[in-house]
Assembly symmetry: C2
Homo-oligomer: 410 residues x 2
Amino acid sequence: MAKNAIVGQSGGPTSVINASLAGVFESCKRRGAGKVYGMLHGVQGLLERKVVDLSGKFPTAMDIELLKRTPSSYLGSCRYKLPDWDTPEGEPVYEKLFNLLNALDIGYFFYIGGNDSMDTIGKLADYGAHVGSDIRFMGVPKTIDNDLMVTDHTPGYGSAAKYIGVVMKEIIRDATVYGTNYVTIVEIMGRNAGWLTAAAALAKAEDCEGVDMICLPEIPFNVDRFVEKVRRMQALKPSVVIAVSEGVKLEDGRYVCELADDVHAVDAFGHKALTGTARFLANTVARTLDTKTRSIELSTLQRCAGHITSRTDITEAYQVGGAAAKAAFEGHTGEMVALKRISNAPYQCTTELHPISEVANLEKKVPLEWVNETRTGMLEPFISYALPLIQAELTPIYVEGLPHHIYQPD
Amino acid sequence: MAKNAIVGQSGGPTSVINASLAGVFESCKRRGAGKVYGMLHGVQGLLERKVVDLSGKFPTAMDIELLKRTPSSYLGSCRYKLPDWDTPEGEPVYEKLFNLLNALDIGYFFYIGGNDSMDTIGKLADYGAHVGSDIRFMGVPKTIDNDLMVTDHTPGYGSAAKYIGVVMKEIIRDATVYGTNYVTIVEIMGRNAGWLTAAAALAKAEDCEGVDMICLPEIPFNVDRFVEKVRRMQALKPSVVIAVSEGVKLEDGRYVCELADDVHAVDAFGHKALTGTARFLANTVARTLDTKTRSIELSTLQRCAGHITSRTDITEAYQVGGAAAKAAFEGHTGEMVALKRISNAPYQCTTELHPISEVANLEKKVPLEWVNETRTGMLEPFISYALPLIQAELTPIYVEGLPHHIYQPD
């Protein structure tokens, strides 16, 4: 009797994470898995026995197409860190998890996520080896942040980068319309790595002058120097458009958004949210220079804009899902599928496997040699790197004027 | 010798305002106008002799296609109110304008804009009649706000409404991903009229539960009642998504965003910007209820998202431009082209002419009988009204992964 497979999604959603789910699902079915289960809300949901049988959920090829085009995690997500298994509080958790997996007759376990999710895969694989389980645990990379080690890039990044390129072009158009002095500061996601903010550089083309400044979290930020740069830029052109990472930090390590004195940054649980950086800077510029300003937060739209995805990204997201299933069926465990770029022109990319230990809990930042001398723009190597990842589109299926999605499981 | 035409764009940009420009341009050429000039930055630019000859700017049909697909005002815009012509400070302005128009041998004058822009057309036509000028002045409607009288709807609204429907679906997907308590408040443009905020109701479909609350500026707002409604909603479902107009006002007439105590609302010129409503409400909800919150401002993206337009809207924007040219060549002046809906199923719409006095400086609000009993949602008549306006798409022309635009004139 064929073993069953189970798949979960974890961490922040992307607009292509369901393409990876489709890749895992179809590849498992094709390789003869029994049932394919989905964890609702990742491992956290699994611990609460929130599991759904996906086997009959996508009966037609059209369902798979809709799944690929549906943004945000179809199965729901979680931000749950497994305790270490060799601790008193950890052991019962793993016992419970493996009992659940064995009761479902699971042979193959897939987790689609970023650095934290790979930590989960690593711990489960370790515990599995410790107890002699034959379940294979495979990681499927996913994050708009593009901050995973060993993989050339992460599925989710290309579509988010494309979204940012598209909307920056539109924001620049909008901001120049009155020909008046105007400073627009756009806040982009990325707590420690500036890959997404750097994507604002893609807006520059023969039909667009591009953004005037890019502020990465990798570069220490100085508010006075920033304002002075804006002043000098605006002496040359009235409309200045700036892309700033939500995670820019002062030299003393504080986040710039912590300088804002309003209540924005603390939610009911006391969590400090990284938001308000652009607003703080826009207010500071308005007060200091004689100019109108506007701050724009791209917010969750940059990770879930299913209406404008990169076909390259969707295709690769599907591929890494399929490659993970292939590897698991071939006996691999405790590894993550990575994307390996073969060439840039023409763009060619394949997959390879890496031990989870090379990925979990590590972060890949933007190489500083890809940043220009003034630390406010990206050099050609970044453009060559990122441009192939935003190529081509996957048209949404429009129903009654809006993109149609597949409905979520209960 | 054929007279020349001149065309300007005024007020806030939209993603289809250039389709109206294309309509005016092509129709003028076809009807035998001499040259077609463009005012840069509207009447304000014209007064500074900032005029460009458009005649050779769009040599191929491809250029017209690009123009139609280029968001924001190709000619630039202004927010300039002409003084009354029968006043001491007004008369020299009109003399200068008409001297400029006569020097360019203008016979046809087109202004693409909203209520304020129609005020300009009205004044110019009046003054023209007063001095016996034979220049014809025609208004071409444009505004995402949909607040113009006499026209069934305004070009620009359909695309903005479609954008709002699309992103609300995506925001709702994103917000449910963790299955945790979460209140998302989305701020939508519209100072006095709630047409755009109402468009959030379009997100509801068989694949989307829709938004949970819609707050129009037409309905007096009470913060305590709002928080209490959110509390009751969240008792039934963890993720609550709310669409709120930037222009919601308290019973005493103050804008809700004025309750926020940070500096956001005043720019260097002392203008109070209507922004921060969603943030204020999200902070208030987070403080009062035990829940995480997020505020999202759709900001300028909702008016300039050229990557997701309604084909119906683009087609109608082009048509009203052409109809204005036709009317001017047939001798009409001091009028605006309006859209007249013939039927809903199938959707059919034609154009008609109205005197500017029926439009200028007036505002059309959302009928209160289209709002539900609890004043927090839209009824079926609104859906029937708005749904035809967001139908079909005009695919952007993608170059190197991003929508290509026509470059702006100098």
